[in-house]
Amino acid sequence: MDFTLSSMKKDLLRWMQDPTGILLWIVLPLMIGGMTALLFGGGGGVKPHGVLLIADQDDSLISGLVAGAFSQGELGELISVEKVSVDAGTERINNGEASGFLIIPSGFGAAFFESTPVTLTLRTNPAQTILPGIITDVTEILLDAGFYAEQLFGPEIRAVRTADKKGAVDEVLVSSVAVAVQQKIDSAATRIFPPALDVVIVEPPPTEPAVPLGFLFLPGVILMGMMFAANGLAGDYWTERELGALRRIVFAPSRLMPFLVGKALAAGLVIATIGGLTLFVGFLYLGIAWHKLPASLLWVAVSGIALFAWFGALQMSSSSRRAGNLVTSMLLFPLLMIGGSFFPLASLPNWMAAFGRRTPNGFIADQLSSQITTAGAWSIGAQNWLIVLAVAASGLLVCAWRLQSGFARS
């Protein structure tokens, strides 16, 4: 224990001699994250444009008007409507190929005129956030207001459109539109709409609360910093070897594990500091509840140790520092790309996002994302903590084995 702490202290003292590297690991992700966030909403980048699938089983004048409402005016530029059969629509929404799928049952037109309750089915794409939210809102309004919606809510929809052109469709806007719409409905409903028009949206209930864009970027940006730091710090094994210090460790009677654990703790501390700063800024900026911070921070520290352990194992399994750096940087950037650091996982096609969640950093980011978006102070499941701890421990064991079997000896 004593030697573990002393090993940790030694590395912290050493790394503090060169704070520029650490600073870089903080600044770089924020810069890249900021830039992609801009690009993402920007005119040249990915523009929120959704596909709404409609299966019109009623095929009446009224149902046609409901379907048409989506493709008219300002809304039409945000959402394109495709008429499909129920089967085709179900398949495509399951594959994540559309933002929403609306089924208008037969008898809708008649029910509308007779003011009897009718059930419409709207399914939204859980992988997307903003467009399904808009579609849900608009559908609800449509179902409440009938085909007057477009005329009635033109200004709000226009607001979404113009904001989109400026590249800033964000959660604030969407929710303010929703509030404005709600207010109009509240004030005008009793006068304009027949009160008996009672339409229900079922299956699924909006699966996901609309997650603000910043929330989507934060975990990826933090993971980028963590990955840079873990990779950079793992190169220190080479430095220690070049300094000859690893050989002295072999001469010494102490075991290698306390030495490695101490080093990993130091790395965890540095990574938690880097991630913690970004977390702090993110919490402040996005207004995330502070009681979610301790678990987020601990998650960052523990996963940081796991990443460091495996980057270290990779470095020590390489034949030279250059080879090690080549291997890790060949892994680093693709992992960051697929793991959601450049483009949030939620913005990727479903299959890609599913794959990204299985990368180490994607997994960590995904858990961190659920930690900061869902209610409760501790949202990461015990089994996920165990997974990360096991990964950290196995990485350190590989490091110990490599040290013993040759890395420290030459």
């Binding site: 002393s6 002295r248 001469f251």
Partner: protein, 314 residues
Amino acid sequence: MLVVENLIKQYGDLMAVDNISFEASQGTVFGLLGPNGAGKSTAINCISGLLKATSGRIRVAGFDVQKEGKKARKSLGVVPQELALYEDLPAIDNLRFWGKAYGMRGAELQSRVQDVLAHIGLGDRAGDLPKTFSGGMKRRLNFGCGIVHRPAVMLLDEPTVGVDPQSRERLFEMVEAERNNGTCVLYTTHYMEEAERLCDSVAIIDHGKLISQGTVAELRAQLGARDVLQLSGEFPQASTELAVKNLVESGLSDLEMISQEETSITLTLTSGSQHLPAIFSTLSDAGGKVSETNLRSPNLETLFLLLTGKELRE
């Protein structure tokens, strides 16, 4: 204190250490002498546990390096041939860290670290980073890191390489201080004058083999009072051989030719300076030309030359 029995270390076909045995006792400095590639570092690395010996037995302070590795390592202090320091960690923290690595702690460690700092003459640079140190200062700290835990046996692998004369003298004093404290020191070098100055006993190795062993006085005696005469120039082979034979017959009975090449020959004899004129005239009669003469009085260096027919250092 340190017992090495039939140590063999093989790299493929190469016998880096070829069946070496020696014993070094408490409060003495034992020198391992040999030219580049003789196997000194290999032997030391087998003792320190850095390398696994192919065969043989090594005991440190009574503990078998293989079977009781941890206890043996605890009694060993190693000063590696290459510097092994955290250059970006203050000198005092280097010493503390290695003290901790050997299980020292608390007040004992703190006071020992202060002692070592004073001993290696770095008391006033304790808080500075070794990367700002001179080569000699780094060497001294490297030495300090090996003695923090008061080892019973010390391994020093060519500690004076690249060290200025002043730091070198300081290092000798530090080694002597350790010896006077009862430490058994194993010291490798290819400087014979270092061995003569520092070592109580010496083993000479070449190509991994032990070729001579004893106290410095014993080895000197083995050499006798013979000088070594090295001549460069032109020496036709057959006639030179004949000339040397003639010289022996004409009264220089202990004259011996150790090595012979077209451009240089090496001879040994007693009172070499008195016989130079006779040697020169006989050689030139035989068609030889002497362009350079080097006469050396007996020391360990010339002993090595006698034993192996070659210089210790090129």
